[in-house]
Amino acid sequence: MNKVSLTRRKFLLSTGIAATGLIVGCSVTRANEIGYSTVAGAFEPNSFIQITSDSEVIFYLPNNEMGQGILDGLTTLIAEELRVEPGAIDVRHAQRHEDYTNPEMGMQATGGSNAVRGQFLPLRQAAANAAAAVRNAAAQQLNVAADKIVLVNGMVDVDGKRYPYGQFASLAATLPVPENATLRSAEQFDQIGRERPRLDALAKSTGTALFGIDAEVDDLLRAVVVRSPVIGASLISFDATEARKQSGVVAVLEIRNGVAVVAESYWQARKAAALVDIQWSKTELSSWSSDTLYEKFVETLNDTSQKGLECCNEGEGGSLLENSAIVAVADYYAPYLAHATMEPMNCTVQIDGDRCAIYVGTQSVQVSAGAAVYYGDFDADKVAMHPAFLGGGFGRRVIGDDVAEAVVIAKQTGRNIQVVWSREDDMTADFYRPAALVRMQAGVSEQGVIETWAVRRVGPNTMNYVLDEWVDALAPDFLNKRFVNWLSKFPHSLFNRFVADPSSGDGIYTDYDTANKAVYHVTQDPGLRTGFWRSVGNSSNAFFKESFIDELAHRVGMDEVQFRLANMQKNPRLKKATELAAAKANWGQPLPAGHFHGLATHSSFGSAVAQIAEVSIENNTIVVHRVTAAIDCGMVVNPGIVRDQVEGGIIYGLTAALYGEVTLRDGVVQETNFHTYPMLRMAQAPTVDVHIVDSQEHPEGVGEPGLPPIAPAVANAIFKATGQRLRTLPLKLS
């Protein structure tokens, strides 16, 4: 038996829960019907594909769709090799199973813009093998030579006579599945690279796409959780006398992070929750406010006796800085940010004795399932996952804190529970993009060669809070609980004291050819939990790097495009993207009166992006009229989705650049809803033109790389418009 069929057998065993009637896969393109992991008489070559005797082709989508278009992208890979139309494939969210492990991350998760890159070969191979198996079965059944068979549009074609795949499913199921069928070559591609409407557009334009919050099961109660205003404070006591008297209230109970109010309806729970009176403990975070924290950052930045953790030290490091003809130093700051996914966090739990079913939009089915196991004390094989579409992820939905609350409430009440977070809950109990204060230093020759690049960074890290949660959710598969509890304290000391968190230095030193580089990070963390925020460290580091590069270009007196190109000889992809953006934006040509161009370039997640923002200042307000972007992301699966992701990244990043700031007062996050944490709206949104560099290289990320350059591109245009060098985000004119 080959490896695939062994895994397949394990898969069937572990989803034996299907026999109890619980759902194991949800069709997402066909009005959300419910599907099962096995279909009688179907050919199941691997955990991704099924072909039924009715010629239904089912694809179990291993990554989660949060807007980035992965449903479309991965289905296209299957369609290409299986020779079926993408729109004819019934796509279902995959269950929790090791076969759906993200090849780059080693866990079942979606993030890091790596899904197409990581699945480009494995999924095509899975589909090509399935196609070869259909061909072999057809050859045998029709008694023709395999090379007489052409697969076309879900049909076996023999000399013009066509038979649907399903006719060969039952025979194919009995034959060995080829393991290394030949993949189609790039010249043969007719699905990959094709421009067509995205597959989930219909469901998402008719209100029929199901998100986590749309889950509905029998006898479902709604719960609202009152969490500590200072995240991480513990509950000392509470008085729910008034809350319990309210109509519809079924239970009020203490859970690990607050008080849950359970009622017949969401509105009843929400109203009663406002009446619960809670005493919370004080924590270290309670002693911090944004202004005191900023002062502390400044003090730490200046206290060079604290060397910090090394992110990078190449050549002579920063030691030759003063030898250069031009020495530049500038401090930059970026604040904490919230994700504000359009769909507030939520989770629905159906409980049936020692079993449960979890309905949730998640970036990691594995973490979510693990959270149910750990916090709800369920056996792993008694947890059925029903992943849904995500109303935005952006890194927020990799944590499992939503599931943790819901399973505990369901377990304690013995009832089916949906926990719905308000926008205020969502914004004040996030895992925030960390703030950072940095000192950028560079030595440049008179000819404009960057000789030394030295960065000193102060702020919290990212990985420690995420790993803390992940250890709880991932470890119970194989470790006992006391050990897990001990282990979960570990990431803090690891990243704060011993090794640099890779996300803190992300992208701050990698794009330019500098012989001598030094980047050090000093951890200064008030205890506000942090997490992955679309493009992670690149989101702030690109602003620091690209604004500072612009300062250097102006100091040397070189054109900003030429200065960058001259210093990125070893970065051909970024160079190409920069040249393309400059050409398309007519860089250097006259603009309408009062309009100015600003450039930023940045590589992240394997892709290179250049952006040119056209900006004017009107009534002392920053107006971004147009952004011309170029991306080199290697080979493209669906060009429309690449352009949309770059545009979406620009709007997300521009929202942060112009408005985004999470502030603290006595440890409490002050931004609660869209009036205090504003979003870019249509009237402020620039026209975005995205150009894709033609490439036959392996595909790279597109979900995140569009974001990092926008803030510095706008800041650099503002400098040209006003002479003001804005070194603090969000950008504010003085």
Binding site: A31, T206, S265, M342, R423
Partner: protein
């Protein structure tokens, strides 16, 4: 007991009268297309039509719709019978995560019902209450124009006086 028309069907409901219409529609009538985004009338995810006008239903007490006609995304069109705007949304691949799009479509369809040829500025004004965190604004604008054009040319081609009337 509160009575109103929901997607052209008479309905009645007996809930706390201050319950926002959004939750009545989602959790009582189980129509899940309308979304919850902010609860403060700030994002537009919950937009429905009340007597033809776009309203934010997360702050609209159900008592206030007594006798009114309410239309949700489910009443705008279905996968088999799309509203021209939905058709344009699909053709232009407007949605990314999709969560805001029901609200966007309800605001856009209310606009076209009163203004069949909106300018860019008209569109910006009408859509100002709808946030899209995924940044689909450019595509939304494109699709509104395409939808408007489809409606207008269909009206002109058929010369059906009733169609002209319903479009205006």
């Amino acid at each position: 007991m509160i009575r109103f028309q929901l997607n052209n069907n008479p309905v009645d409901v007996d809930v706390d009268p201050d319950t926002p219409l959004l939750w009545v529609v989602r959790d009582h009538f189980k129509l899940k297309g309308s979304k919850f985004g902010c609860g403060m009338g700030l994002c537009g995810a919950c937009t429905m039509h009340m007597n033809g006008a776009a309203v934010r239903t997360c702050t609209l007490p159900v008592a206030a719709v007594q006798g009114a006609s309410i239309t949700t995304i489910e009443g705008l069109g279905t996968p088999d019978k799309l509203h021209p705007l939905q058709q344009a949304w699909v053709e232009h691949s407007v949605p990314q995560c999709g969560y805001c799009q029901s609200g966007q479509l309800m605001s856009a369809s209310a606009l076209l019902a009163t203004n069949p040829n909106p300018s860019d500025a008209d569109i910006d004004t009408a859509m100002n209450g709808n946030i899209c965190r995924c940044g689909t604004y450019g595509k939304i604008k494109l699709a509104i124009k395409a939808g408007a054009q489809a409606i207008n040319s269909a009206t002109v081609q058929t010369f059906d006086p009733r169609a002209v009337e319903t479009q205006s």
